[in-house]
Amino acid sequence: MLITVRTLRLSLSVTAVFGMTNAEAFAYLDPGTGSFVIQALIAALAAAALTARYYWQRLSDFFRDPFNRKSSEKQEHDEPEPDDES
């Protein structure tokens, strides 16, 4: 659930990004504001897709074999690493 909330928050922050008018230049390459904006959107979508895929997998595993604890433990191991967002 924690991850879902984080993803939602990230998506909202990306929506906010679209209202940005400028980005700070911090390296010798000019990254381009427009490139940052689209990059943030794609990254958010990709993160959301990974999270959705993880929960879908858990859900389908649960309905397939709700009493198989071994499978559940294995899933725990596969859980995506927490975001470094917060």
Partner: protein, 461 residues
């Protein structure tokens, strides 16, 4: 070293160091500002991992005390790259492999707490048949949440040209020659067919990316707003999405005139075998370490030179022939051949800043021997290049010359002359020998059995 004496123009953009040549050896200076990043590259194990996988060029740390000063943190001596090539000389699959290598390096860098601060196609070179990153200073410590600074550059240097080559025309790789920082995304978006908008990865990375650049192009001024934050999972997702976009580009090579050349010659089987044997024997006389095979087609004779131990640069004008050559190098894990696209009547010039940032072909090396097989009639008759110009240019490139003369009586030349007036009075064996003798000493002249053609071994005067 502060005055950049001997510094190569190619590295002028990076404030963290530069490449210079001293006594014929290539070095890279690292400035003190890069120290923390360099130490992380070494201490995190990323350097060892990438160099052992042959994805990053290895280096030695050196003590050049005569050039070191307060502005020097380290001077490193990178592994030698026999021939520097540029993305507009690569075939489709070579550019694709270079793109995938860049993304895989970025994924490894993220895993080690670092990131690529640039994603220039010019930072990749082909060493022993594989794409390797040559810029050790491309890595920096990744600050959590920061976007990938090189995302735009990756799309311009790799994704846009690959998609254009795959979806429109493979010759659009030449846009890289006129656009030093990669293909502008608005141009790529305009040139691509509308159907590419139906593929999510192309819709986002090319079309929406171009639209976003346009939308924010007028932004500026003093107002500074914080950058978007991108989680590590989001960053990996972004790289993975780019990887899918690149991996999905394909080029189905057409059956071109040149790619079919070996099946479409006027040689008998015996003449083909004899020609190979004579070329091999002539190469044995020269004993070259570096060979340039001009008009190499898919590289049959390049392989004869490589089998004799030479490093071979195998040039051809036909993208499909170069592609076939590259695919064979990759499939057979051949380490001695580099297959490049080159139009001999318009070879790669010096481009970029002062026309010196990317070197013309003749400044990037000096062959010990040139192979010019079944080539002279294409230059002299199809392209009207005077024989003297051909001899002079070969001589300027350097080294011995193994050249095949194809007379007018040969059916291929007869075909060329069938639809045009014969204005080539000097195109005969006597004048060929006379003109080339002004630059070379003819050591051997051997007629190829069951053919009209002859092979010459010439040494430069």
């Amino acid at each position: 070293m502060t005055n950049r004496e001997g510094a190569l123009v190619a590295s002028f953009r990076d404030p963290n160091g530069f490449v210079f040549r001293k006594d014929g050896v290539l070095y890279r200076q690292i400035n003190p500002g890069y120290r923390a990043h360099y130490e992380r590259l070494k201490d995190s194990g990323l350097y060892d991992k990438l160099t052992s996988d042959c994805r990053l060029v290895s280096h030695e740390e050196t003590e050049l005390r005569e050039v070191m000063d307060a502005d020097t943190y380290r001077i490193i001596k990178p592994q030698y790259i026999p021939f520097v090539s540029y993305p507009y000389e690569w075939c489709f699959s070579a550019l694709k492999d270079a793109a995938l290598a860049t993304l895989d390096i970025q994924l490894d860098a993220i895993g080690h707490g670092m990131t690529l601060k640039d994603a220039s196609a010019y930072n990749i070179q082909f060493l022993h048949g594989c794409p390797v990153l040559i810029d050790t200073l491309s890595f920096e410590i990744r600050i959590s949440g920061k976007p990938w600074i090189a995302y735009r550059q990756f799309c311009q240097h790799f994704l846009a040209p690959l998609v254009l080559m795959s979806r429109v025309d493979v010759r659009l790789s030449q846009l890289l020659r006129t656009n030093i920082d990669g293909v502008p995304l608005d141009l790529a978006s305009r040139l691509l067919p509308a159907s590419t908008r139906l593929r999510p990865s192309l819709l986002f990375h090319v079309h929406l990316h171009a639209a976003s650049q346009k939308r924010h192009a007028g932004d500026g001024g003093a107002k500074r707003i914080r950058q978007p934050r991108i989680s590590e999972r989001g960053m990996k997702g972004l790289i993975s999405s780019l990887r899918t976009a690149v991996a999905n580009t394909i080029w189905k090579t057409p059956r071109t005139e040149w790619r079919e050349y070996y099946g479409n010659t006027n040689y008998s089987d015996r003449a083909t075998d004899e020609k190979a044997a004579i070329v091999s024997q002539m190469l044995a006389v020269i004993g070259p370490r570096n060979v340039w095979d001009l008009g190499a087609n898919t590289g049959r004779y390049s392989r004869i030179a490589a089998d004799r131990g030479a490093s071979v640069v195998s040039f051809d004008v036909d993208p499909a022939a170069v592609e076939a050559n590259y695919r064979q190098i990759k499939a057979e894990k051949e380490t001695k051949i580099l297959a490049l696209l080159l139009d001999l009547t318009n070879p790669s010039p010096g481009v970029g800043w002062g026309n010196r940032e990317r070197q013309p072909i003749h400044e990037r090396g000096r062959p010990d021997a040139i192979l010019a097989l079944a080539l002279i009639h294409h230059l002299a008759i199809s392209n009207n290049v005077p024989l003297d110009y051909v001899a002079s240019w070969f001589h300027q490139l350097g080294g011995a010359l193994v050249i095949e003369f194809v007379p007018k009586s040969d059916s291929k030349v007869a075909d060329m002359l069938a639809t045009r007036p014969d204005i080539f009075s000097e195109y005969n064996r006597q004048d060929f020998e006379r003109i080339f003798s002004q630059h070379y000493r003819i050591e051997q002249a051997v007629d190829i059995p069951e053919s009209e053609r002859s092979l010459y071994l010439m040494l430069p005067k």
